[in-house]
């Protein structure tokens, strides 16, 4: 170290400063008190750096935390040193060497291109505490004062660090001690707390036990059951109040033999056996028997006893509970009875009933099911029931069943079920699900109802309907109903066909009217008017004029009835009789031709017969006459021969005359029969016979027959022929009438002088008054093939009945023919003198009233 002389004042100043520095350094330990070594070193470095204007200062503490040396470096602010404490440390080690004892007082070297003088200082005698290295670029570094300060600072640091180390150790030991004490204290406190708690719990438990025992006693005494406790050997220890009250005995009595007396004698052996068994084996006791109540009534009890065991499993006693189940027993009896009834019902109802599991397999089938199918429960159980279903129906039943199993909805299906004897009958299968509270299906219940008869009836009905439709089609008959009040008309299919209406058309009277033949419209109007007026059965024949101008003939009959509401309803049938009518007309023509032929034939035969009978004598007459002439012309005349032949001629003439007489006798009618008769009745028969013909001619006949008409005596057939003759005349007189209804009235009534009158009035062509007498002449007719004897003969008949027949022209169109005959009381004798009147054939009835 180079000592330079300097200015004394400066030196003083410097020295003073040095002294201040030394004081500051010596004061450092006071500042460090209680500080950590790292903190102390940091302070030291900061102080020295500033105090000595160092460029850098480095410290390494050998003993520090976790045996790792602490290295620290402080650099003056103006220096841009980039190296860290460890690099600097290593650099200094290289410069100084490993042994602190041999370190030079200072070293000059370059650090990062800067010349630097460093001064190492040991802390501790051997440097065991650490090392401080101070560096400066100053050339005079270190001055003496600076060396002093550095050395003092190193010593102070060593002392301070040593003290700090000791203090730390002391602190550590004291801390450990405190920790241990605290831990122990905590442990003790915990133990103490536990102890206190245990004591408290024990106290509480004891208290609870006491309370519980009291409660238990109270519970035992107040529960609505009979309770008692027994010793391990089965002796009664305690009985609750209910026991005493029920049996009506004291605890002492019951503890004695009275307990068994309280059991029903019939149950006693069973009870004792079970009791002994439980006492011996320790098994729980559970038995139902009757106990006698204080009033002597026995009630059913369920008696249950459980053994109480100690920790070793030894029985310390028995708790016994007696439960009054009398009501339950009765209820069970009732349920059993009810089940029996239900079973009875299920197995006797005339329905096949069953119950299936939710998956569709069978659980139960009732007795009728088994009886019907002949399958045993074992055969039918599960899926076995299928064999009873007709193979053709099984797929359908299966599909339906699956559908319901999926949907869970009730349903039904029809299928045939095979009877035990192999006969298949139709059944209605019905199934209903039973659901629990959450809606899941628990069971399926179902019935099979025999609908074979119904099914058969349905088929029969279907067949009949088909037959009916077919029959209507074949027979050309349609049916209808007509509700008069509402005008509602229902037609069968065939009727639409007959009328040639579209089946969708609504049938009304107006619609029908469009088809009715114009000339028959009055028939329809008359029919509807009368049908609406009052209920009566009726029948009509009328024509239809079809759009193609063809004519159909219909025959209608209707039956009056009342529907469910009491309203008038006609039900009837309409037959298309066009074919029949045509046939009838053809037949009628054929018949009249036949009649003509027959008449001709008969006449021919008659003529032949007459000719033969007459020709024989005529032949004789001519021959004899010829012979006679010849005999007279002979020479001489054979007078005797001529006389003889003339005589024969006369004889043969008489003979021919006799033939004619015989013929007259042959053809003359016997005397007419006379009888007491009702003219009304006879008239009604004639109406019935001629109605068809009248209707065919479009004639409306209105009978007005007197109620209290007297009887007459006469030939019924002859009088009826007269009536029919008059009716047919009336009908034919109107055959050309198209401008007004062809209406005829036939009327019977009493007449003056105890006579009976019959009148037939028509609306026909009538006759001129001057012709009235000719009407009744025989052979007066304009009818082409008529003989014109109708009215003539009719008048003969009436006159033979002592009556009169006459005609009068009407005020309006038409004529009226009437006859009167005496009533029975007067005519009885007269009728016997009826002359020989030949009855005319009806076909000879003559329409004689054409106007001239």
């Amino acid at each position: 170290m180079e000592v330079q002389l300097e200015d004394p004042a400066e030196e003083i100043k410097r020295l003073r400063r040095c002294i201040n520095d030394l004081v500051s350094v010596i004061a450092l330990p006071a500042i460090w008190s209680g500080s950590e070594p790292a903190e102390m070193v940091r302070t030291l470095l900061d102080v020295l750096l500033g105090m000595l204007h160092l460029d850098l200062i480095y410290v390494r503490l050998e003993v520090a935390v976790n045996k790792v040396p602490i290295e620290m470096l402080r650099v003056a602010q103006f220096r841009g040193l980039t190296a860290g404490p460890q690099e600097i440390g290593e650099l200094f080690n290289r410069w100084l060497g490993d042994d602190p004892q041999t370190w030079p007082p200072l070293v000059r070297n370059r650090i990062e291109d800067e010349d630097m003088t460093i001064v190492p200082l040991r802390m501790g005698l051997q440097g065991e505490i650490g090392v401080i290295v101070a560096g400066s670029q100053r050339a005079d570094f270190p001055r003496q004062t600076e060396g002093l300060v550095l050395s003092v600072a190193a010593n102070q640091a060593a002392i301070g660090l040593q003290e700090a180390r000791l203090l730390n150790e002391q602190k550590r030991v004291a801390g450990e001690l405190d920790q241990r004490v605290a831990q122990r204290t905590t442990e003790l406190a915990a133990a103490n707390e536990e102890l206190i708690r245990e004591i408290a719990e024990r106290k509480w438990a004891e208290e609870a036990l006491r309370t519980s025992e009291i409660n238990l006693r109270q519970i035992v005494d107040s529960i609505p059951g009979l309770v008692c406790t027994l010793s391990p050997a089965g002796e009664v220890i305690h009985l609750n109040r209910q026991v005493l009250e029920y049996f009506g005995k004291t605890a002492e009595e019951l503890k004695g033999s009275a307990f068994t007396d309280a059991v029903h004698p019939d149950d006693c052996p069973r009870v004792l056996a079970a009791f002994r068994n439980s006492i011996t084996t320790g098994e729980p006791y559970d038995i139902e028997h009757r106990c006698r109540r204080a009033d002597g009534v026995y009630r059913w009890f369920q008696v249950r006893a459980l053994p109480v065991r100690d920790t070793n499993g030894c029985i310390t006693g028995w708790y016994v509970l007696l439960i009054d189940i009398d009501a339950r027993v009765f209820a069970e009896d009732a349920i059993r009875a009810s089940e029996r009834d239900l079973n009875h019902i299920i197995n006797t109802i005339p329905v096949l009933a069953w119950c299936n599991f939710p998956d569709g397999s069978n659980e139960f089938l009732n007795q009728p099911w088994h009886d019907y199918t002949g399958l045993t429960p074992e055969q039918a159980h599960g899926w076995g029931w299928q064999v009873a279903i007709h193979p053709d129906d099984l797929p359908k039943v299966w599909d339906k069943w699956r559908e319901h199993l999926v949907s869970g909805e009730a349903g039904e299906v029809e299928a045939r079920l095979r009877r035990f004897d192999g006969v298949d009958r139709w059944f209605l299968f019905r199934a209903n699900p039973l659901r629990d509270e959450s809606g899941n299906i628990v069971k399926w219940y179902g019935t099979n109802t025999d609908i074979d008869d119904r099914k058969r009836a349905e088929e029969e009905l279907r067949r009949n309907e088909a037959f009916l439709a077919e029959a209507q089609y074949l027979s050309q008959i349609g049916s209808f109903s007509w509700r008069v009040a509402t005008g509602e008309i229902t037609w069968s299919e065939q009727l639409y066909r007959i009328f040639e209406f579209d089946p969708n058309m609504l049938v009304t009277l107006e619609l029908i009217g469009t088809r009715v033949h114009p000339k028959d419209m009055h028939l329809l109007q008359d029919m509807t008017a009368r049908a609406q007026d009052k209920a009566h059965d009726f029948g009509y024949e009328h024509r239809l004029l079809m759009p193609d101008h063809s004519v159909k003939y219909l025959h209608l009959i209707a039956h009056a009835t009342r529907d469910r509401d009491g309203q008038l309803e006609y039900i009837g049938a309409i037959q298309d009789v066009t074919q029949r009518r045509h046939s009838e007309e053809a037949l009628g023509k054929a018949r009249s031709e036949l009649a003509h032929v027959s008449r001709v034939t008969t006449l021919g035969a008659l003529t032949a017969s007459i000719a033969h009978e007459v020709n024989q004598p005529l032949s004789g007459i001519i021959t004899n006459a010829g012979t006679c002439l010849r005999m007279l012309a002979a020479d001489p005349p054979n007078v005797d021969g001529a006389r003889e032949t003339a005589r024969r001629t006369i004889r043969d003439g008489n003979r021919a005359s006799d033939v004619i007489k015989r013929l007259r006798a042959l053809f003359s009618k016997k005397n007419p029969t006379t009888e007491l008769m009702d003219l009304n009745e006879a008239t009604r028969e004639v109406i019935a016979l001629s109605l068809s013909k009248l209707q065919r001619n479009g004639v409306i006949l209105r009978p007005e027959l007197a109620d209290d008409l007297p009887l007459v005596t006469g030939d019924r057939v002859q009088l009826q022929q007269v009536i029919m003759n008059l009716l047919l005349n009336a009908s034919e007189a109107m055959s050309g009438v198209d401008d007004r209804p062809r209406q005829a009235i036939i009327k019977t009534e009493g007449d003056e002088g105890d006579r009976v009158r019959l009148t037939v009035q028509d609306a026909g062509v009538g006759f001129e008054p001057q012709d009235v007498n000719r009407l009744f002449e025989a052979f007066y007719t304009t009818k082409r093939d008529g003989m014109g004897i109708g009215l003539s003969v009719s008048r003969s008949i009436i006159e033979s009945h002592h009556g009169h027949l006459w005609a009068t022209p009407n005020d309006g169109p038409g004529a009226t023919f009437s006859f009167t005959i005496p009533r029975a009381s007067e005519s009885v004798t007269g009728a016997t003198s009826l002359g020989a009147i030949q009855a005319p054939a009806l076909t000879d009835a003559a329409p004689v009233r054409r106007k001239a």
């Binding site: 020709n615 004789g620 021959t623 012979t627 010849r630």
Partner: protein, 123 residues
Amino acid sequence: MINHPLISVVDDDESVRESLPDLLREFGFTAQAFSSAEEFLASDYIDQTRCLVLDIAMPGMTGPDLQRELTRRRQEIPIVFITAHGDETVRPHMIAQGAVECLFKPFSETALLEALNAALQMS
């Protein structure tokens, strides 16, 4: 006999049996009457009969029956049928069956004479 050929009359009607033989005799014939076919067959006059006036409709054996019987016996006697059942269809039929004539009662003398002459010419 040659000049007076025998005409036999067979008829069930008595007035014919009485009147016709008298007329035949007036014509110059010999006449014999029989009331039935059986009576004629049983008589001895068959061979002598030059012409047979025969009624068609008779009880028992009819005129045609007798005609067939005579044919069977090879007795070829010309026959004039007479009948009271006048039917125009009968005559052609009878003639077709071999009759000379068929007369309807009552018949005229002329018709009878013509028929007899025709018959006698055949025999």
